[in-house]
Each structure stands twice: as structure tokens, then as C-alpha cells.
């Protein structure tokens, strides 16, 4: 019984330490980037949601687009992000076209959904070549 209580104490401490580390890491992420990526993920969700009608999808994308254009500019102009070495920031700036979707799609004169699919490597040709099976 003593052994069990030692084991459970150890596990509790272990999870507490992990949670503290996770919290510490999460707190380091710039807030502006977090907000933008949250909004972008909601927009991508709207793009891919099969339950939406075309009109509903259009309205949701338009609203998200207007909101996202400002958020992208806020991130690009945020002085706290300059030189911020976290993994999320480095990944965000590794690919401008995928991170700053609205600006990149407007620059390339593409529709938002087309642009995202192209950047993800999904096209008619790749879909037609796709096969079901083990990777």
C-alpha cells in the first residue's frame, strides 16, 4: 500500500511538472500570432465544412477574410515578434503564402480556397492520382 501511494505521488508530481512546463511554453507565444492563427483555422474550417451551403460558406469566408486581413497586418507589424525564437513563430514565417493567406491570395489574384489548396499541394491532378492504401 505504501508502494502504491509513492507511485501515485510520483505520477501526480510528474504531471504537475509537465503541466507547468507546458504552461510556461504556451505563455511565451506572442498573443497576436495566436489570435491570427485561431482566426485562420476557423476560416479553413469554414472552407472545408461539408455541412455549409455555398451561400453560407461565402458569407463566413467573407467575414473571416475581413477580420483576418487586419490580424495579418498586426502580426507583421508587431515589434514583439521580431527575433522571437519560438517554434511557432519560426514555422509561421517559414512560409508566408500559407501563414498570411489573405494577403498572399490577393497578391496572386487567387480565390482564398484555391490559394490554400494550391499551397497545400491539393489540385485536380493530385486528387485524381490519389489512391487509398497504407502509407
Amino acid at each position: 500500500m505504501l508502494k502504491q501511494s509513492n507511485h501515485s505521488t510520483f505520477l501526480t508530481l510528474f504531471f504537475l511538472v509537465c503541466a507547468a512546463c507546458g504552461t510556461a511554453v504556451a505563455e511565451e507565444e506572442p498573443r497576436t500570432l495566436q489570435n491570427m492563427e485561431r482566426e485562420r483555422s476557423l476560416m479553413v474550417d469554414a472552407m472545408l465544412n461539408p455541412g455549409l451551403s455555398p451561400d453560407q460558406r461565402h458569407v463566413q469566408l467573407a467575414t473571416a477574410q475581413r477580420r483576418l486581413v487586419d490580424l495579418e497586418r498586426i502580426v507583421l507589424r508587431d515589434p514583439n515578434i521580431v527575433g522571437h525564437r519560438s517554434v511557432v513563430v519560426r514555422r509561421a514565417f517559414a512560409n508566408y503564402d500559407l501563414t498570411f493567406l489573405v494577403h498572399a491570395s490577393a497578391e496572386n489574384s487567387r480565390h482564398l480556397t484555391d490559394h490554400w489548396l494550391t499551397e497545400m499541394g491539393i489540385s485536380t491532378a493530385t486528387l485524381s492520382r490519389a489512391r487509398k492504401g497504407r502509407r
Binding site: 475581413r66 486581413v69 497586418r73 507589424r77 521580431v82 522571437h84 519560426r90 508566408y96 498570411f100 490577393a106
Partner: protein
Amino acid sequence: MIKPNADKLRPSLAILSVAGLLMAFPASGSDQVSWDPVSSERLVRLPATYLEKAVQRDFQSSPLAGRMFDLEDRANAMGRTLAELRDAIELADGEVEIELRHQYLAEKSAYLDTMEERQELKRRGLNTKIGVFQSVLRKLKRSRSLADDPVTVDLIEKQAAATRRLENSIEQVDARLFEAVPGEESRYSEEYRQNLGRISELQQAIQVHRANGPALIGGEAVTREAYVRHLLAQAEAGLALLNQEQEMLGYMAKLVALDAQALQYELEHVDSDSGSTGPDPSRLANSVQYFIE
């Protein structure tokens, strides 16, 4: 001749000499005072020329500095009293002179106690200042090493490229967006544009501000890191001088103790030399006259 009241003075002189030799500990009033310095995170952002002033201003508003200045005032007043007593001793004689010399010794002992306490507070202040400068130096070195790191350099280049791409394409993007999604310009975009011009003016004013000049040592412009190292060296030199002053205080205390012993010895010999002028009645031969009748 009036016999000085040596009996009254002797015990206090003995105490004075012992206390002077042992160099009494400073009064406990200084144990509670401290200086919690300003955070080095804030200091790192200041221009180098204002860093030292900010630390000094912060120190001067602390309880430790307040107590130190009180002790300095007290020591100055004691210095004037010592000068007056020394002048008075030269003019006095007899019992008055003895009393004045006793007061002189007591005042010197009290002066040394005050200076000892002040030295201790000054040492604490300097040690704290050194800690602050070391912390600032560590942060500057860390920023420099991070800035030189290849991952950071690469990230900053990508961020700069992304910002340039945004600014170059912003009008085109706005035109296409309003075509695709008609509506009013957002409040953020409108106010950002208005503020941009004012920001540029403010940045120019900062560039030409006299307080934004480089730090100078001996007329030569130096980096922030070099300037902080210079301030650190100055604080360490202050601490070294304090050690030397501590040695002086030790010698002064020893002199006070020796003066007290000398005065005590003087009084004891006056006691034994003064008294009856006739033959010593404790000698038997001298008492024979009382038995021959």
C-alpha cells in the same frame, strides 16, 4: 588643590577603553533598512547615459540611503563638536580639563560608532549596485548572443522580408479585397495610416534628441556593454576604498582606547600622589609618638 572626581570617571573610562578596543558593532537601527533596486529589465531599455542616473536616483529614494544621509549629518555635527571640545581643552585646566577630556573621548567613540554604521550601509548600497550592474550586463550579453545566433538572424531576415512584401503589396491587396468583399475600410487600417505619419516624426525627433547620444568614457563613444562594465568597475573601486577606510577606522578606535587608558592611568596616579603631607601613619615607627607620653 581641588582633587578631580576620579572615582566617578574611572569605571566609565575603563568601559570606554574596552569598547574602543573591541570596535563595537553598529547600532541595530540600520539592520532593518534596505534598498530594493529597480528591475534590470527596465534599466536595459534606458539609454546608457541615463542608466547610472536612474540607479542613483533609485538608491537615493531608498530607506537605506535615507538612513545613510542621517548618519552623515550626525557625523558632521559630531565633527564640529570634536573641534569645539579640542579648543576648549586647550583653554581649560584642573577638573574642568579632565571632564572635557573625558567628554572628548566619549564623543570620539560615538563618532567612530556612527562612521562604522555608515560604512556598513555604504557597503550594502555598493554591493546592491554591483548586483544591479552585473544583472544588466548579463542581459545585454544574452541579447547580443541571441542576436548573433544563426537561427535568430535567419528568422529576423524572413520577418523583414515578410514586412517588405506586405508594404509593397498593400495597395494591390486592398484593391482586390474591396472588389471581392465590398465594405468600409476597417478602423484599424484607417487609424494605422493616420498614426504612421506621426510615428515617423517622433522617430526623427528621437534620433536627434541630445539624451540619445552614445555613452562616453573619457570623451570616447563606447558601447552600452562597455559603459556598464565601466560603471561596475567604478562601484568595485568604491568598495575597495571602503575597505581602506575600514582599516582607518580600526586604527582610530585603537587610538581612542589608548587615550582612554592613558587618561585612566593619569587619574589613578593623581589619586595616589595627592593626599596627606605628613608622615605615613601606617608605618609603625611613625606611630610611636602616640605611645610615648
